[in-house]
Symmetry: C2
Subunit: 571 residues, 2 copies
Amino acid sequence: MRFSRYFIPTLKENPADADTMSAKLMLRSGMIRKVAAGLYDWLPLGHKVLKKVENIVRDEMNRAGALEVWLPVIQPKELWEESGRWQFYGRELLRIKDRKNNEFCFAPTAEEMITDLVRKTIKSSRELPVNLYQFGTKFRDEIRPRFGIMRAREFLMKDAYSFHADDKSMDETYKVMVETYTRIFTRLGLKFRPVEADTGSIGGSFSHEFMVLADTGEEQIASCPNVTCGYAANIERAETRPVEPAANAPAALATEEVETPGKSKVVDIAAAMGVSANKIIKTVFMIADAQMVVALVPGDSDLNVHKLQRHLGAKQIWPAKDAEYIAAAGCDVGFAGPMNLKARVVADPLVMSIVNGVTGAGKKDFHLKNVNPGRDFTPESVADIRNIRPSDPCPRCSTPVAFFRGIEVGHVFKLGTKYSKAMKAEFLDEAGNAQPMIMGCYGIGVSRIVAAAIEQNNDEWGIKWPVQIAPFQVIVTPANVTHDESRLAAEKIYNALLEKGVDVLLDDRDVRAGFKFKDADLIGIPLRVTIGEKSLARGMVEVKRRYEAQATEAPLDAAIEKVMETLQALA
Amino acid sequence: MRFSRYFIPTLKENPADADTMSAKLMLRSGMIRKVAAGLYDWLPLGHKVLKKVENIVRDEMNRAGALEVWLPVIQPKELWEESGRWQFYGRELLRIKDRKNNEFCFAPTAEEMITDLVRKTIKSSRELPVNLYQFGTKFRDEIRPRFGIMRAREFLMKDAYSFHADDKSMDETYKVMVETYTRIFTRLGLKFRPVEADTGSIGGSFSHEFMVLADTGEEQIASCPNVTCGYAANIERAETRPVEPAANAPAALATEEVETPGKSKVVDIAAAMGVSANKIIKTVFMIADAQMVVALVPGDSDLNVHKLQRHLGAKQIWPAKDAEYIAAAGCDVGFAGPMNLKARVVADPLVMSIVNGVTGAGKKDFHLKNVNPGRDFTPESVADIRNIRPSDPCPRCSTPVAFFRGIEVGHVFKLGTKYSKAMKAEFLDEAGNAQPMIMGCYGIGVSRIVAAAIEQNNDEWGIKWPVQIAPFQVIVTPANVTHDESRLAAEKIYNALLEKGVDVLLDDRDVRAGFKFKDADLIGIPLRVTIGEKSLARGMVEVKRRYEAQATEAPLDAAIEKVMETLQALA
């Protein structure tokens, strides 16, 4: 492709409303343009990257035996009512009425549609398993679209759904999909990690997220540095391992009321009481399925609402309102303790190991010290209900875990029979009985990968594409196109690379060389071949990797060989 | 691909609500499944064809220098208001409100979006021309979705838009796009024809439609059989050439009132009066921009409302209601003549050449004979306002035209400055003055092509795919998979063809041979290689084209060569 015939409207300045590095660089390099909140045009340069990602994903899905389909993005309400999600999905679901007043939604995902298709077409276990996937436009009406295309409202997703007659078959496909995703992200040239994850609103029993590693990532992951263990999990999901009780624990002292006027924050109470935050027993008031539940966690830990919900088997859970707190605690907000509550009480194991702890006294402006679980109060149940903390022991091997950040780009789920039961997607087993199919689902955020790759690979000058998904692998830059010999040498190299199947851009614009170099760095082409007047007079051209500051020279007649070698090394 | 691992849920019976051959065959062959009115799942077999079509279209668009982009399907109302189409598009436009009550539509087309993109990024004539295209999901909320995916509500379209600084550049690109479309439909293996067309609701000044020829097509085309002329046009667009007045026209007679009780249809009046239909002057009452207009056409011709609208320069036009007719004519519906009307009167030239014609008498149950235009009435204007008829003279060369039927699958338009003026998509010319860009647009109904190809190529047994877009080029069918030698020979041929890059399906199912043959014919694979026990014993296999009733034998060791030769011949 010739730069002069391409359409790369770069920007000199960072757009004011770009809130992440990838959004800035995608807008500045002319990959995308904003249309409205969370809606973006993909311009030729951005689209080219998107297609390269899509093609690698498709190739590996096909290799795994998955079959590509294409489902409507406009989905009938009736199917979402069958699964129960029409009511529960909330306002992220874009609801639509057609001219006849029939209701639909714009696909945020496709469990209902695919389950409907399979139940209408598959009747026998001999036709199972089947793994169907599609690339489709999805829409989620985010309340606050942000981070450019990372959390756009409209986006490109690869979603796959598998159907099985038994758990063994489900497990096999799950394993194949984890391997397939590993191959995909490896081929994309990204540093990534699969981690155990929470199943969230899609439901199901077990899942892994694939994270592209980036310091700017939204997701926090607890990871075991012990390589023989290799445990990694989203902190929403990571289990905690209770600390062993210390051998020489201090003796339990008598409780004592202390006046703490106006102090209800952990940090203030700890200072007032002269104890560390981990001695404080936090009471968190929640409403689970219309019932008051008080969760107890140490002052230096965060309640994990998902864990609490799972422990309670609750359908819905949210924080109690102040009036509900006051009714259950019999005191003002901030001063409740675990005693004398009109509520079910659930404690984290770490709370149970606190000796001489501090908690609210159950009356305004007072706290209690020397509170001892088991002696002073007994919770209804004890369960892992907190987020893991850095340096907590690995739940598998006890090595202290490290935290890192990532961007979720893929997700594999075991869905179980949630949808097949609700929607009667059944097969006849060998005895002729109808059984619900077991389902898995496997998503990849195709457009998000483009942004994640940039978050992982950039510097002050612009993007540093992995060669596998770079819009062009090589840019050929004659420093001065009005110099005939330079231009002709550049054309010759350009054509030779095209013939070798290299995806190459010829910067044939009549502008200053420095301007061209800046553009090449901004759009992030992995390899630049520069033809300068002086070096050409010596029969040499320059070859420079985007990752390296220094260029190397190569003889003009060996330039192609040098480029091909370097590309090989980059891949 | 092995049949046993593929997902082809064929149906034995024609689905009750399939209203065309292509809909029947796509549903029966398991290419698609209906979700709701005008909404279809594309299953693996159908999706494979769709992708083959898409890839040929993409390849040729790239070759023509067009650049691929990807625009949101959710488009802001504000842009449609700028172009004026929010108000005028009508109920086919699916309108949507997001959670913040902002209004959007689901893209039926993308003139507004692309014009917005280009006005934000291109400022100078040096950056023109540019031709941007995309493959996108489109939605048109048809009042009566029908013909399967042919007139579905959701469909896949390739839409391209070009921007130019002057007419010369516009004309060049238009020519390139007509050539590109010609290459595309040739490569798709379809019989097609470009025809002059009306520009319809998208607007603009000039356009060609690409028609896939099929007797079942919705569109009627008038075509000149004179090959040196080659004129072809949609009958909505085709000009008519006035017949020369006959040299020995009869003398004009005196008008005479005839009682025609209850007769208001052309056929009844012609019979009552003893004249042929072409002697009758039909009066058609229309409301154009709130004004009454009576159009006069011969009794054997149809009024062309588009032509009348263009002639009047009217923004809106529709048939008058009975009350409006009666008010303007002063008589009951069915008995008006061209005289004494409270209306503008427009006559087709063919009406003006009628001698001693028949028309309504302007009072109930009476007609007039021996009416002579010019003597008895003078219309306000005379203009081509009728549809061309079979055997009418070609407007270019006078050869009587033939009619044929087709399915519109592509459309190229000159849009002029309709959108660029309304939306201020301007560039600075050399004198530094802002000028509106000149635009062209170029659509291809990608999903519709799949149905059109089937309408053109089918028989009582099923689909007969052109090899270029067949889901598989070859099917290898061991008649009996429990016969080891047959199975092994089939596997060997299958693997050898895969290695040669042939898209091949191995029917490895343990079912009767006749059942397999029926499926192969239904899904329309162009070439079948059958391995039968008896012929294999003689060292032979069968090679059969889908188009031919008879198979030919080939020696087992020459089977691959034979297949490759036949594929070559089919392409």
